[in-house]
């Protein structure tokens, strides 16, 4: 008992609060990435292994556009659009021929795509990390640290994008098409909904979400060609822990896991802190395999 009290007393409160903010910030970006992934999986039953690479490419394109124009918002929009187009092209060329075949084929194909994109990035941009300078440079005081405003702005933007995305699904015409196709693909076709193009659109939107996350993340850390794998792994963990296909679950899981990792970083190195997310995954698989944040376990 004494040990516990001693331990609690030794936790540096200010560090915890700082890490809470950090955790929420990365959590929101992770939520955005995971949203795209779970969206694609929930609608098309495609596990998009290349999602991390789309995130990475989005970040690189953002870096390039920002370097050329100096405008962060332009970088965000251009990158999302370009990667959306790339996503649509990839879906038409490689995923459409696989419709109706064993879904494991799509994992392999998206894995192949991720290899190509990763090596392309290495080839084009080299192994040295690139950076975007902070779009908003003012800071505010969070305890003894000068905490940069732009981190909070990024968290807010991520939340806003997720919100926009949800509204789009609920109310727009394409959103109705997507929901109808998910519920009954056959009748959706009989109602004139061009289902093959719905799938292309879904993939493109998922890709755009990934790219936007990449651009938002770029000012936080360096952009390298290997960042895709780390993010896609975390995104997968988030999607499994949050419940495959559940948007709300993914968001909750993303923040939950990011917070835990941020707290763990107080005591261990960041490289080791990732073990936290692995542990959460193992526990989820053992006790609530349908997802920690899904209301009723079936």
């Amino acid at each position: 008992m004494d040990m516990l009290v001693g331990f609690i007393q030794s936790i540096p409160l200010d560090l915890v609060l700082i890490q809470t903010v950090n955790g929420v910030v990365t959590g929101m970006i992770l939520a955005l990435v995971a949203s795209g992934l779970t969206f694609i999986f929930g609608i098309m039953d495609v596990v998009n292994f290349a999602h991390g690479e789309l995130f990475m490419l989005g970040a690189y394109i953002g870096v390039v556009v920002f370097a050329l124009s100096g405008n962060f918002w332009l970088a965000l929009i251009t990158s999302s659009l370009m990667v959306a187009l790339l996503g649509a092209a990839l879906q038409i060329l490689t995923l459409r021929p696989l419709i109706g075949r064993d879904p494991l084929n799509t994992i392999l194909v998206t894995f192949g795509i991720s290899l190509i994109l990763q090596n392309y990035a290495l080839w084009q941009f080299g192994p040295v990390a690139r950076k975007i300078s902070e779009p908003i440079t003012s800071h505010f005081n969070l305890f003894y640290l000068e905490y940069p405003w732009y981190r909070l702005v990024i968290a807010g933007l991520s939340a806003a994008l997720i919100g926009l995305f949800w509204l789009f699904l609920k109310h727009s015409k394409f959103g109705v098409w997507i929901r109808a196709t998910t519920q009954d693909r056959v009748m959706a076709q009989a109602m004139g909904i061009p289902v093959p193009w719905v799938y292309t659109g879904v993939f493109a939107i998922g890709a755009a979400l990934a790219a936007a996350s990449g651009v938002l993340f770029a000012p936080l850390a360096g952009v390298t060609h290997t960042m895709g794998l780390d993010w896609v792994l975390k995104a997968f963990i988030v999607v499994v822990v949050g419940g495959m296909g559940s948007l709300g679950g993914s968001i909750a899981a993303a923040i939950f896991i990011s917070l835990l990792e941020a707290y763990a970083s107080i005591w261990v190195s960041p490289a080791q802190a990732v073990i936290v997310s692995f542990v959460v995954l193992i526990l989820t698989l053992l006790f609530r395999p349908t997802g920690l944040f899904v209301p009723t376990p079936k």
């Binding site: 494991l104 392999l108 894995f111 795509i113 290899l115 997968f236 499994v240």
Partner: protein, 333 residues
């Protein structure tokens, strides 16, 4: 995957030869070629061939899961890596370094990893299984990468080769040729063992799981148990490949535990032809050959994975049976 292992070419069968005779005939021819190879090839290609055999063994082990049980695993880098590090541990901890201890410890390490991974991932089907094996292999990577005092961390471990010691028969340092023959013996032996396994009643159940898991369970087979055993067997052979690699190259590095090794393995499988056991070895060879060719033609910096990735994707879409399947269909005309 629902592709099934293919039969031997029909045309030869019609000529009156039995299935078995064709197999053993072909096997002997290939073995003869591989035995003679180190005597006629230059040093570079000798090592190249040996490495292809090692990757081939890794890919073969993965085929047991992908081709026969229908479970795609991205976790083989963990088993390979643990085999490697297990061997390294034996070679560093005991003096003089003992070959069989290295193999034993490597297999034990890989086996434990396989049991651990199998226990968790086999609860899930298909896609979830693939993702969790991937995540587990990354767990092993992170542990090995950060636990520097034990595993050498980022830099890995360096050690010396043990002597090739076959009790009462032989005791000498490995030469390039004897290394090759040793690896060949191990890989060929593994191939024959795996072949036996896949053709046994156990193997038939695995294939039945691949074709229709629900029905297999309904008939009464303890499907999860079979899956766990399948993962463990697969892991042990993958670990064996890791041991061979460690002995051949005299170092162990965390890079091999990284996901890329798993990814490469899956590529060898798909390119060569899943469900054939031999296919993955062919796939490994094909991959390494193209890579070597591209780097000779275009230089070291050429991103060889881009064209190879395209070939990989094209093969999944148009040639799902892989190179071997294509060759067999062509021979069947």
């Amino acid at each position: 995957m629902t592709t099934a292992p293919l039969d031997k070419p029909m045309s030869l069968k019609r000529a009156g030869l039995s299935h078995n005779a064709i197999f053993w005939g072909g096997f002997c021819v290939v073995m003869a070629l591989l035995i003679v190879a180190p005597l006629v090839l230059p040093e570079f290609w000798r090592r190249f061939l040996t490495e292809v055999l090692i990757w081939g063994l890794l890919a073969m082990s993965s085929d047991l899961l992908i081709g026969y049980t229908g479970m795609i695993s991205f976790g083989h880098s963990a088993f390979f890596g643990l085999g490697m590090y297990g061997a390294a541990a034996a070679l560093l901890a005991f003096s003089p370094p003992n070959l069989w201890l290295a193999i034993g410890l490597g297999l034990a390490g890989a086996g434990c990893a396989a049991l651990f991974v199998a226990y968790f991932s086999t609860r899930l089907r298909d896609i979830y299984f693939a993702i969790t094996t991937l995540i587990f292999s990354q767990i092993f990577y992170v542990v090995i990468f950060t636990w520097t005092p034990v595993t050498g961390g980022e830099n890995g471990l360096i050690f010396s080769r043990p002597r090739l010691w076959i009790p009462f028969l032989y005791d000498a340092r490995f030469s390039s040729a004897t290394m090759h023959w040793f690896v060949l013996a191990v890989v060929a032996g593994s191939y024959l063992m795996l072949r036996r396994i896949t053709q046994s009643p156990f193997g038939m159940v695995l294939q039945s799981i691949r074709e229709n898991e629900a029905r297999t369970r309904a008939i009464g087979y303890p499907v999860q148990l079979y899956k766990i055993v399948s993962v463990m067997l697969s892991g042990v052979f993958a670990g064996l490949a890791g041991v061979l690699y460690a002995i051949q190259n005299e170092f162990a590095a965390p890079d091999f535990v990284y996901f890329i090794t798993s990814g490469d393995t899956v590529i060898f499988n798909v390119m060569g032809g899943i469900g054939t056991l031999v296919g993955p070895i062919v796939g490994a060879g094909f991959f390494q050959l193209i890579r070597e060719l591209l780097s000779r033609l275009f230089g070291d910096q050429f991103p060889y994975l881009i064209p190879l990735g395209v070939v990989f994707i094209v093969m999944i879409i148009f040639l799902p049976q892989g190179l071997l399947g294509f060759a067999r269909r062509w021979l069947n005309r």
